[in-house]
């Protein structure tokens, strides 16, 4: 757990060509009539100690991607290496041991806590399962974790309904950290909270990241939060990553037209600065019927004729800045 002893540039997570399709079954024999391509060929590296922001609109596959990486959902194809260990080929005890090293924080602090368990027993559960502590040491660890997330330790015998939304999210965070993970997926951890509480939770996540040397995959639709928190940003659209870059680089030099529209849609807090908003026409297409060619072409203000037929690939346009758009690559 000592962040100093780690090589900061070492890649902790390597996602390669990951796919997860959900079959659509219809009719008498429930025959498969098509697939929802929730994650369609995603490759992504996450370095140790890094915060990677994953942004996109609802239904773009960001949650499925995260859950598949953690093997909470089985993949259709592709591979994930976690610290060099192939996650998808592990079984039983080996997988369980690896699970200790990666955890998830869920969006809904109301639905993700068991209403019949006290907060203390909920946080103690993973500690016992993974045999991290025994006997009185469990309680001590729970108290310590609660303290760290800003909940008085004497509240450990209370039930979730006795806490506010922000406090429940803190409890969810304590539970995720109970097993001492290295890698944490935070799936929209502040979206359901009020602004002033959001700031408290974001501060907490930042503190914990520094204290434990955590690596974060931070899923959100809020670009303000991403710009504030993330070292690198990956933008997803319809199951594919369309742009990845260092945060400053991405916000300073946006390449993909979809990212441009997303960033222009961040409401400005200055009433005098009426921004030039790019309003995209139409809705996000259903991932069950992804348009041919570049999946973004029906809404793209810069679409060219070959965008309708040819699929662009995610290519490095500038060092560390990958984009999947025909504007930045020669046609094969």
């Amino acid at each position: 757990m000592n962040p100093v002893g780690r090589d900061p540039n070492r890649i902790l997570l390597e996602v390669r060509d990951l796919r997860r399709f959900f079959p659509i079954r219809k009719g008498f024999f429930s025959r498969v009539r098509g697939y929802v391509k929730a994650v369609d060929g995603v490759s992504l590296d996450v370095r140790r100690g890094e915060v990677v922001g994953l942004v996109g609109e609802s239904g773009c596959g960001k949650t499925t991607l995260a859950r598949t990486i953690l093997r909470l959902i089985e993949p259709t194809s592709g591979s994930v290496l976690f610290d060099g260990i192939p996650v998808f080929s592990l079984k039983g005890g080996e997988l369980r041991r690896l699970r200790k090293r990666f955890q998830i924080i869920f969006q809904d602090p109301y639905g993700s806590l068991n209403p019949r368990l006290t907060v203390g027993s909920m946080i103690a559960e993973p500690i016992k399962i993974h045999k991290i502590a025994r006997g009185a040491a469990v309680k001590e660890r729970v108290a310590d974790l609660l303290q760290k997330v800003g909940i008085p330790a004497e509240h450990m015998n209370r039930y979730p309904h006795e806490f506010s939304g922000g406090q429940r999210q803190r409890i969810g965070i304590a539970r995720s950290l109970a097993v001492g993970p290295e890698f944490v997926v935070a799936d929209e951890p502040v979206s359901s909270l009020d602004v002033s509480v959001q700031a408290q939770i974001l501060n907490l996540l930042r503190d914990l990241q520094v204290e434990f040397g955590l690596t974060f995959l931070f899923i959100t639709h809020d670009l303000g939060v991403v710009e504030y928190l993330a070292d690198r940003v990956a933008v997803m659209y319809l199951g594919k990553i369309v742009e990845v870059a260092q945060t400053e680089r991405l916000f300073g030099n946006v390449k993909h037209p979809y990212t441009q529209a997303l960033i222009s849609a961040i409401p400005s807090l200055d009433p005098q600065k009426k921004r030039q908003r790019i309003v995209l026409p139409g809705d996000v297409p259903s991932p069950a019927a992804v348009p041919p060619g570049c999946p973004f072409h029906p809404r793209c203000p810069k679409a060219m004729s070959h965008c309708r037929t040819d699929v662009p690939s995610l290519r490095e346009d500038e060092p560390g800045h990958h984009v999947s758009c025909w504007l930045y690559q020669p046609r094969a």
Partner: protein, 328 residues
Amino acid sequence: MNSETLLEITNLTCSFRTAEGVARAVDNVSFSVMRGETLGVVGESGCGKTVTALAILRLIPSPPGKIDAGKIVYKGTDLLTLRQREMRKIRGNEISMIFQEPMTSLNPVFTCGYQIDEAVILHQKVGKKEARERTIEMLHLVGNPDPPVCANSYPHQLSGGMRQRVMIAMALSCRPSLLIADEPTTALDVTIQAQILELLQSLRERFGMAVLMITHDLGVVAETAQRVVVMYAGEVVEVGRVDDVFHHPGHPYTIGLQESIARGSQKGRRLKAIPGRVPDPADYPSGCRFRDRCPLAEARCAAEVRLREAAPRHFTRCWKDMTPSKAP
């Protein structure tokens, strides 16, 4: 009340009976809406912004809720004195409302077209055929690519953004003078949110209606509103022109809200979160309700603090003087 005032709320107080006691959801709230303007109402959940809106339309469920006191004067008549029958002529006709969740506010067993027709037939005294023409026209106006098909669709067949457009079409079908929009874009994706805000803006200009934009998002207010009301714990804590409130916020809560928003310019710094949480509506502290969380609180804040005009047309419920200049 001058001729430019469309709606004037004076000392509105609403309470709800709860297991913990009587909760004053809205306490002595006063503000007015001018003709044709967009007035933003911001605040966090439980601050009373939605209850205020429901009170205007007299839609507060009773029991457990109750309008205890106050006046809501619309075009010269106090809505709180009207009979139900008279109120129905105003609701959906003169004043209409759109809600946060378009799925739950549309009836799933009727087509979208039928639901819009209904409002038109009820208020405009026209036949079915004429009403449907109006419906198609409205759907066209809110940017539906194929109005006749949409009119025959059920709500579940449409996307979230399209459902919100149907709601807007329904709300505007009788050309109201005031549209109450309660978090109209909160449930929508960023790019769809941009579309809906743009649409509301253009329709407001076209019909010359006033919009009461209720939201928790300061960005939405900065973008759409001319004036803003900030609410906290059932009270109005600040009112003013958007430029004044955003650049020279007068209340520590408004400052706290602005500073707690995460954005790139804060990178690497801790966010200045407002400590603590909103007080329990059944048990507000005496004096200033924000004083437990306020970095500037002092002894005199325990006494009642009134809304005062600290700068021309800029009101705040705080002793402190406005910050001279502050870049948001």
